[in-house]
């Protein structure tokens, strides 16, 4: 009997103890996966981690198999990618209305990702105020300007793709704010532009940031005054361009959400002045002499680089570059290497000049359509892999020759095949920006460059030519860029329009495969022309196909990929999910 009592008591006591301590039993678990607020903002060192995270969230377009250039007439990406549907003018705010646009070009136009970045910036500004006792004022001043720059940069992406957007400079909080306060309407194009422009202006005037970081500087990759001024000039140039600055818009835009209400040619002058300010004050910047080696990892933070995303070789995405997996010839030395996603069109190839500086359409240029790759300008050979081109990178054992011709006797694996395989449909591959040391399958540490000094020069040339005309300073800027590319100076006496054509072609060639062309054809309004026509490939066949005894015949042929450009496409549609969530938003015209 005693024994029973003993056991019974044990059981009973056990139950009682458990009841009393059960809350403890559950709450003793510690969440070790995350960091609480107080620890995050405890010191400059801990808060710096947050800033590191913010830099980590910046776009890394090198990891997109469908780069922004595929959305232009420069590149053909193939049928698997969003760009294929975009170029078929199949674009809409949701899958219901066409190709979904918000994954376009690796998050450039992703509303949600951009606002997530903006929130992170605003959280930093709010929390550093709340915990200001933990930080020195110098640290706060410097980091605040870095964060404001990233926020301005992010808003600039929204402006370029969507026009005016709701401007949030505080952290929205659904616990303290009403739905009406959370649902903000779009600012106009002008308000959004002014906000970005003023923010950048303030950062520059504050002068808390370095002008430039050079190779080896520990902080290289952080925001600089150079980056702020460059972005300011670029966004002014973008906004001054005809699509947004002509006072009219092809579709009704009563809220002036995607263009300035009135045209103002002075906007060109403003952009020119900003670029002039850059050239005058920030003399630390100059062109890097060797265009072909500009992207090499050894040349990071060279004199030309204004702002980039610092990447590291052989680490997980997105902090390394997969560019070499997507670009370059598919087969190298008989071995499959790349996805062949960056296939230059015949249109881009034709934009390269002859070495004498003349356009290939100029009868005096010396261009022979049956020997199209002879005597072209230096940047052509540095940027494009064409049929019969020798291909060598330092990581290769020996030089390969890339053949894209249709050869019945000695078929090459890179032979143009007009099919869904990775092999090019245009007969060209890109060469520019590839990693000399790694090759495909090895993620590289080649930084993604957002801005480089050549853009200051060409931006100045364009703005000044529009504001004043082709004066000597325009020529000077153009000559500097062209000379590095091995081209002679432009002939004197060009009209403003002739100079404009030259500048536009110069930008296309100089910045090929750098994700610049999309913005240019949009702001210039030329997208309507260049995207509303089929792009071309080069078919190369032998006049005697059975034994290759004849001559090789070069025939540009249409790609037969669907094409089109609709007026709504000057800006991206706001994703339908975003429209559904905020009833105060007005959709962009035409969507």
């Amino acid at each position: 009997m005693k024994r029973y009592k003993f056991l019974f008591n044990i059981g009973f006591v056990a139950m009682l103890i458990c009841t009393a301590s059960c809350n403890k039993y559950l709450n003793d678990n510690v969440n070790k996966a995350t960091i609480p607020d107080a620890d995050q903002w405890a010191s400059e060192a801990s808060a710096d981690l947050f800033v590191n995270g913010m830099y980590g969230h910046l776009y890394n377009p090198t990891n997109s198999p469908d780069p922004l250039d595929n959305f232009t007439d420069d590149n053909d990406g193939g049928i698997y990618w969003t760009s294929y549907h975009y170029k078929a003018a199949n674009v809409g705010p949701s899958v219901d209305a066409g190709t979904q646009f918000n994954t376009f070009g690796n998050n450039y136009a992703d509303w949600d990702s951009n606002y997530a970045r903006i929130r992170i910036c605003n959280v930093f500004l709010q929390k550093t105020k709340q915990y200001s006792a933990n930080f020195s004022s110098a640290w706060i001043a410097k980091r605040t300007d870095e964060v404001r720059f990233i926020r301005a940069f992010t808003y600039s992406m929204l402006l370029q793709f969507f026009g005016g957007v709701p401007l949030w400079t505080t952290v929205p909080d659904n616990n303290t704010m009403t739905a009406a306060q959370l649902d903000q309407p779009r600012a106009t194009f002008e308000q959004t532009f002014n906000f970005i422009d003023n923010e950048l202006d303030t950062i520059i005037k504050n002068g808390n940031l370095a002008v430039k970081y050079n190779h080896g500087d520990a902080d290289a990759g952080r925001a600089t005054l150079g980056a702020a001024l460059m972005l300011k000039g670029w966004i002014e140039l973008f906004a001054a361009s005809p699509t947004f600055n002509s006072g009219t818009y092809p579709l009704p835009d009563p809220g002036n959400l995607v263009h300035f209400a009135t045209a103002d040619p002075q906007r060109w002058a403003k952009a020119a002045a900003t670029f002039q300010q850059f050239m005058t004050n920030y003399t630390q910047y100059s062109l890097f002499p060797d265009y072909s080696k500009f992207w090499y990892e050894d040349n990071e933070y060279n004199s030309e680089i204004i702002w980039d995303k610092n990447l590291v070789a052989n680490v997980p995405s997105p902090e390394s570059s997969n560019y070499d997996q997507y670009g370059g010839p598919v087969y190298i030395l008989g071995q499959y290497y790349t996805w062949g996603n960056y296939d230059p069109t015949q249109e881009l190839v034709d934009a390269y000049r002859m070495a004498n500086g003349k356009d290939i359409t100029d009868p005096t240029s010396g261009y022979d359509p049956q020997h199209p790759y002879v005597g072209r300008e230096q940047r052509f050979y540095q940027s494009i892999v064409f049929d019969g081109a020798p291909y060598f990178q330092p990581w290769m054992k020996r030089t390969d020759t890339i053949y894209t011709r249709i050869d019945k006797v000695h078929p090459s694996q890179n032979q143009i095949d007009f099919a869904s395989s990775d092999v090019s449909n245009t007969a060209y591959y890109n060469r520019k920006r590839l990693n000399p040391n790694g090759g495909a399958g090895v993620s590289s540490g080649i930084n993604y460059i957002y801005f480089r000094f050549a853009e200051v020069l060409l931006g100045y040339a364009e703005a000044q030519n529009e504001a004043v005309g082709p004066d000597a300073s325009v020529y000077a800027a153009m000559t500097t860029v062209r000379a590095r590319g091995g081209l002679p100076a432009l002939p004197a006496g060009l009209t403003q329009a002739q100079m404009r054509t030259q500048i536009q072609n110069e930008r296309r060639v100089e910045f090929a495969f750098e994700d610049k062309r999309y913005y240019d054809i949009i702001r210039w309004g030329t997208a309507k022309t260049v995207l509303a026509t089929d792009r071309h490939a080069m078919e190369i066949t032998n006049s005697s196909p059975t034994d290759d005894a004849g001559v090789w015949v070069y025939t540009p042929i249409p790609l037969n990929h669907p094409y089109g450009f609709l007026d709504k496409m000057w800006v991206a549609p706001i994703p339908q999910t975003v429209m559904d969530a905020n009833t105060k938003l007005i959709q962009n015209p035409g969507y």
């Binding site: 981690l49 078929a88 869904s420």
Partner: protein, 1026 residues
């Protein structure tokens, strides 16, 4: 007093308990059925009892030697069934419970019961959608259909998965239990049955009870089987000539000029002859040639069991080995089970159970995985070399199958699991009351070792003679060109503490039972992992790795978890006719915020056995008719821990500045939801258990309904996109499920000794989403509305067949407005042989507004099984058919779409059934060199009925007569032939209808081609008892 105990056939019964009533005097029969017992006198009464037989009382009187014949228990009513935290007589059960004997499940030659449970008991829905990879072929099991909505934020957990309880402890260890060790499996289905499991019960509960020692002399048994496996389906892909012919046909369809076709006709026709002469210039690559269609599988098991009234023991050792379809893949398991039960006093019982397994999974090189090998073997272009004539490995599309398979790399996973339980049970001085304390400690350790070596292959240069072969490294689709070693150590310890107070007593006609349980569970876990890249020496140990710090990664985490619950059940059965019962659990879990951690899940049930009423006395054909009803709440743990906390995540490699070294960073987590809690199900069940015709026919039917609410969902439409962060999930979606299930069984013994038993099960489950977040675009369109439709309803376009030549009225090769066809289908240039879609809203274009429902979920709504057992003169035959219906699956794959992904190979399924002008009534569209966007849209053209019936298990055995065995001192010996997945009838002739369709979270997924094929297994086996 002495005697012998036999069964109805006159065979000796061993281990029968013989007891003198009113005393502790007793014994058991020996191996010949004999016993000897000193009795107190002629007035003594002896009770003979044995599991499975009706007990018999005998008055001693003046007898000194007797022969007793025990009758088998014909009815299952007095079986004891394992239920939540206790056992119950079948006759007292009020809830919806079904059970199956372990011996029925062990007939299938499989390593664990997940692959043999479906169809055996009603209400269990199982689909082998994950394929048949050795050691990783677990079937997705659901009880009563899909219970919840797949949660995309938790892609590795199925929110409808049932709770697994092994020997009374919540343990997800089906993999570690050899089917031979299982005594019985009970499925708890309705609210009353699952209520003791509270927040774990909403998806149903599977209770596994393993074998324990039985009274009697030691009995040693040995069993084993050996057999071979082959895929149920393995795609037949094109040979070189058909591939080239089709490629040219596709190019021609795509307007490539005849002169530019990839393969000239004479090149194709002479290819095989040329191949014979020069196999390297005219290579043939055949992906099937790497597959072993005769992969062995074997299982051996040894068990020792016995005991007395004082001590009972059971020991079991098992070995299972399964080879894979190609060499490096295999699974090996050593399992053990040791149980000892001691009656320390007449009222105290102590039991110890140690179960466990050592497992080893071996897979191909870490950088590729076997699923990619399958995909690559289907894709392999047949005019590309798999291997050159000199033995060097070739490649196709930059992938080298042999290079990958033979790299020397590997992926090994070692798992060591122990499931240990110590229990003390004490009968208390109050009659019928006893208390039991249980402590369970389950440690698991896992060690993963992954070794990658570069995949070498050779490229060939045929422009010089002899040909030049150059070594290359395959990096296409991901494998690195450098060596690496990755190791991970995972440790997990589960503790369960249970205090159980049970009460069973009879007052007149009332049988009262009650149960109170306090249970606490907690877990600690940790993992450590490291990787070093770049090995100069190919020794797979960290010490040999690169010393460059950039080649290192080290990581690790740890965590704890806990749960507390209080269970009660009370029930009363009156006169065997009426019963009322209540049960429930008050449950607390650490996942949620303080203040939201506890919830109460009550249930009520009852039955009325109409057949026992006086007015039914004259109905002689009805032995029992037990009408049951139950109602209750149960819960389901969803999502993950700490979703209620606001915080920051650490990012190990956040970004880098100038010096190119990655630094740490942080990032805000999703905004927390402090109110997050579990999902809740309200279940109602009405059913009956009937026995007819002298218990020859047993029927159970249940109809049920459950409303699931509080399902976790992403509240996408509440905050503006500019908010910049995502809210944590909220408990805001709901669905309802309904169903009916039926079990019918009958058995008969013919005069000539032939015994027949037939058992059939059928279940039909439907469900309906009652509240889900969906966009206005789909909600406002009745065709596309998700709300109101079943989970995983598939949507797409409605295909109206293929365009024919007659549709091209003007004969220009394209079908457009000039032929009177004005519908714009995705801007495609339409040709005869392309798919025609219905313009549902008649707006002249096919777009999202034309989307309609095009099929059921891949998870079938109807499941059924039919078990046939026959035995005659030592022969026994069992056939188990299992089937499923109302299931739809998207069949797009390499096998049905030609030249997908880099001109990949396709199957004869496509080749033989494709549209050509001379084959207009085709199953598949016209060939293109690139998959045409018009023809690859999700539509009912591709969504096919995946119903099937298959002979899941068949076994034919012969038991050698005891007379012969007696001479060699063996009690029983049986040999058998057994098979699994032997025959399948399905409208899908070219793929396994069970494969793919959904992922591990239960979401719709495509890509059958990367799943390890389901296996057909044929084995021979034996079992012997000594």
């Amino acid at each position: 007093m002495s005697g012998r105990v036999v069964d109805s056939k006159g065979q000796a019964l061993v281990g029968v308990s013989v007891k003198e009533n009113g005393t502790s005097n007793g014994t058991v029969t020996d191996s010949n059925g004999n016993f000897r017992l000193n009795v107190s006198g002629p007035s003594s009464v002896l009770t003979f009892s044995f599991v499975g037989y009706l007990p018999q009382e005998v008055h001693v009187r003046d007898q000194t030697s007797i022969q007793i014949t025990l009758a088998e228990t014909n009815s299952k009513l007095d079986d004891v069934v394992v239920v939540g935290y206790t056992t119950q007589k079948r006759s007292a059960i009020t809830g919806a419970i079904s059970s199956v004997k372990g011996s029925d499940l062990a007939k299938a030659p499989v390593d664990n019961i997940t692959n043999s449970l479906a169809g055996q008991v009603s209400g269990v829905i199982a689909r082998q959608n994950g394929g048949g990879e050795p050691g990783n072929d677990n079937t997705t099991i659901h009880i009563r259909g899909i219970n919840s909505i797949p949660n995309p934020n938790f892609p590795n957990s199925d929110p409808s998965a049932p709770l697994i309880v092994i020997d009374g402890i919540i343990r997800n260890n089906l993999n570690q239990i050899d089917p031979n060790e299982i005594e019985s499996v009970t499925i708890l289905k309705d609210a009353a049955a699952v209520a003791p499991y509270g927040l774990g019960g909403a998806n149903g509960v599977i209770l596994i009870t393993t074998k324990t020692g039985k009274n009697g002399p030691p009995s040693l048994s040995l069993s084993g089987f050996y057999g071979h496996q082959a895929p149920t389906y393995y795609p037949k892909v094109l040979g070189p000539q058909d591939y080239m012919t089709l490629y040219d046909e596709a190019q021609t369809n795509d307007k490539v000029a005849a002169a530019n076709l990839a393969y000239a006709p004479d090149y194709i026709s002479s290819y095989l002859t040329n191949h014979a002469k020069d196999p390297d210039l005219y290579p043939i690559g055949n992906g099937r040639s790497i597959v072993n269609f005769k992969a062995p599988e074997q299982n051996y098991n040894m068990a020792l069991s016995g005991g007395s009234d004082r001590v009972k023991y059971y020991a079991n050792l098992g070995y299972f080995n399964q080879a894979g379809l190609f060499a490096p893949i295999s699974y090996t398991r050593y399992s053990y089970n040791l149980g000892v039960e001691v009656n320390a006093t007449s009222s105290t019982r102590v039991s110890i159970s140690l179960k466990g397994a050592f497992e080893k999974n071996t897979d191909v090189d870490a950088a590729i995985g076997n699923s990619t090998i399958f995909r690559d073997s289907y894709k392999l272009i047949p005019v590309n070399p798999l291997q050159f004539s000199n033995g060097d490995y070739g490649s196709s599309q930059g992938l080298s199958l042999l290079g990958a398979l033979n790299s020397g790399g590997y992926s090994h996973t070692y798992t060591n699991t122990l499931l240990s339980t110590l229990a003390i049970e004490q009968r208390l001085p109050i009659k019928g009351l006893s208390i039991k304390g249980t402590l369970s400690y389950d440690p698991t350790s896992t060690n993963q070792k992954q070794w990658h070596l570069p995949f070498y292959y050779y490229t060939i240069n045929t422009s010089s003679t002899p040909y030049v072969y150059t070594k290359a490294i395959a990096t296409a689709e991901g494998p690195p060109a450098y060596t690496y070693l990755y190791e991970q150590y995972l440790k997990s310890e589960n503790f369960t503490y249970q205090g159980i107070l049970t009460y069973n007593n009879t007052f007149g006609k009332n049988s009262v039972s009650g149960l109170v349980v306090a249970e606490a569970r907690n877990n600690t876990n940790s993992n450590f992992n490291a990787r070093i890249n770049n090995y100069s020496l190919q020794v797979s140990e960290f010490n040999f790795g690169s010393s460059n710090k950039n080649d290192y990664t080290i990581g690790g985490t740890s965590g704890t978890a806990s749960q507390v619950g209080y269970v009660y059940t009370v029930g009363d059965v009156f006169d065997g006719k009426y019963s009322l019962a209540a049960s429930g659990r008050y449950d607390g879990h650490y996942y949620f915020a303080p203040g939201h951690q506890y919830a109460f899940f009550p249930a009520f049930s009852g039955f009325w056995n109409i057949a026992r009423e006086n007015f039914m006395k004259n109905v002689s054909w009805l032995d029992d008719f037990k009408l049951r009803a139950s109602w209750g709440k149960s819960g389901s743990l969803a999502g993950g821990p700490y979703q209620y906390q606001n915080a920051y995540n650490l990012i190990g490699d956040a970004s880098a500045y100038g010096n190119g070294v990655l630094v740490q960073g942080t990032s805000p987590t999703n905004q927390a939801n402090p109110f997050i809690t579990w999902e809740q199900a309200v279940k109602t069940d009405i059913g009956f258990d009937a026995s007819l015709l002298n218990r020859k026919l047993n029927v159970t039917i249940d109809v049920y309904k459950q409303n699931r609410s509080g399902i976790l969902a992403q509240p996408t439409t509440i905050l503006p996109g500019e908010y910049g962060t995502v809210l944590s999930q909220v408990n805001d979606e709901s669905m309802e499920g309904k169903g009916i299930e039926l079990t019918v069984g009958t058995h008969h013994q013919f005069a000539n000794g032939l015994q027949l038993a037939i058992n059939g099960t059928f279940s039909y489950n439907t469900n309906k989403l009652t509240q889900v977040y969906e966009t206005a675009a789909t909600f406002d369109n009745p065709n596309r509305r998700v709300t109101g439709r079943p989970v995983n309803t598939q949507f797409g376009y409605h295909a109206m067949g293929l365009f024919q030549k007659s549709d091209d009225k003007n004969g220009d090769g394209t079908i457009n407005t000039s032929d009177g066809y004005t519908v714009n289908q995705f801007n495609a240039v339409l040709r005869p042989g392309d798919i025609r879609y219905e313009d549902v809203n008649h707006d002249g274009k096919i777009d999202a507004n034309d989307i309609v429902p095009i099929g059921n979920s891949p998870v079938p709504l109807i499941d059924y099984g039919l078990n046939l057992n026959a035995s005659w003169k030592g022969f026994d035959l069992s056939l188990f058919f299992q089937g499923a219906a109302k299931s739809t699956i998207n069949v797009q794959s390499f096998i049905t779409i030609p030249f997908n992904n880099n001109s990949s190979n396709t199957g004869y399924e496509y080749f033989d059934n494709r549209w050509t002008p001379s084959h207009p009534n085709a199953k598949y569209p016209i060939a293109d060199v690139s998959p045409s966007s018009n023809n690859t849209q999700t539509s009912d053209f591709w969504n096919r009925n995946a119903s099937y019936v298959r002979l899941k298990t068949a076994q034919l055995g012969y038991s050698i007569p005891p007379k012969i065995l007696k001479r060699i001192a063996i009690k029983a010996f049986r040999v058998y032939v057994s098979g699994q997945n032997l025959l399948t009838l399905s409208p899908l002739k070219f793929m396994d209808p069970e494969l793919g369709g959904v992922n591990t979270a239960g979401q719709i997924a495509t890509g059958q081609e990367v799943i390890y094929p389901i296996q057909r297994v044929i084995t021979v086996g034996f079992s012997a008892t000594f």
